[in-house]
Symmetry: C2
Subunit: 150 residues, 2 copies
DNA sequence: TTACATGCAAAGCATTTGCAGATAA
DNA sequence: TTATCTGCAAATGCTTTGCATGTAA
């Protein structure tokens, strides 16, 4: 049996999430707790409504798709998740709370986080008066396609 | 009557577009020519299927929405347009052929071009073997939202 | 007790598709 | 002439919503 070094963890990501729900007047119901567990006790992840639905099903539980959609939206609204729009008909949600952007490789339908420091923005068009809530950068990569040109 | 200085313009954006259609085996039909005129004879633009449909209607012509969708997709496939996915259920198409990225201001539903030189990317994760077709950067801006946090 | 949540089924919405009739080459 | 295109309506796929039932506090 291996020795496990247990660090003192007064507030896990999961517990923080539940606290944030309460602080924002959202009841920690059974469904929300199940989803929070899946989302925040497995490191940094990118999930879709559908993939979450599948994960719940695989644990022999059942949460309706509608509830999953609604919950993802609520979690996003209170800042527990970030929505990434990679494609129409495909919204992903990201659990990484650190400052970062996203690299989307279209052909592989794959999302990779990019540390904010790797992207330098110099955008004079942003009006100074605009109070920013968030800047999302999505770098979208497509592989070569042959084309006849003039 | 004002004097018009006419520059010699052997190949307008419109004519180039039509040529590119032919080169790629796509017939320059009546509908495609109408759309190409609207798209490429009015400078740099960001259009949606819907806004194009409206423009066609305002000229007292009629092209079905389905044909507009299909045409936008074809034009994009042969590189005449660039698709910008700003939101699920909202694709815009951009006629600017110069190298540039996009700034999307969510609250105003507005897209602004950003010159490529204003964005510095340092993305080690792109595999060297990946032949790039295109890198799109969408900078998505949302204004401030109040939130209770831990 | 009661305001809020859930789950189902139905609705919504942008987009795509099948197919019969039309058209460019 | 014939392969391709157009337009309609129907289908699609993700997401949202209305509403009756269930549940947290």
């Amino acid at each position: 049996m291996s020795l496990k070094i247990q660090t003192f963890n007064p507030l896990s990501s999961y517990n923080k999430a539940i606290n944030k729900l309460k602080l924002n007047g959202i009841r920690p119901t059974k469904q929300r707790m199940i989803l929070a567990k899946i989302l925040f006790e497995n490191g940094k992840r990118h999930v879709s409504a559908d993939s979450l639905f599948e994960e719940v099903r695989k644990e022999d539980r059942k949460i309706s798709l509608a509830t999953i959609y609604n919950t993802l939206k609520q979690f996003t609204n209170i800042g527990l998740l970030r929505e990434i729009v990679v494609d129409q008909n495909k919204s992903l949600y990201c659990t990484n709370k650190e400052s970062h952007y996203h690299l989307y490789i279209e052909d592989e339908d794959k999302v990779v986080d990019i540390p904010t420091k790797n992207v330098n923005l110099d955008i004079p068009q942003i009006p100074a008066c605009l109070k920013l809530h968030n800047i999302d950068v999505i770098v979208r990569i497509r592989t070569l396609k042959e084309l006849k040109d003039i």
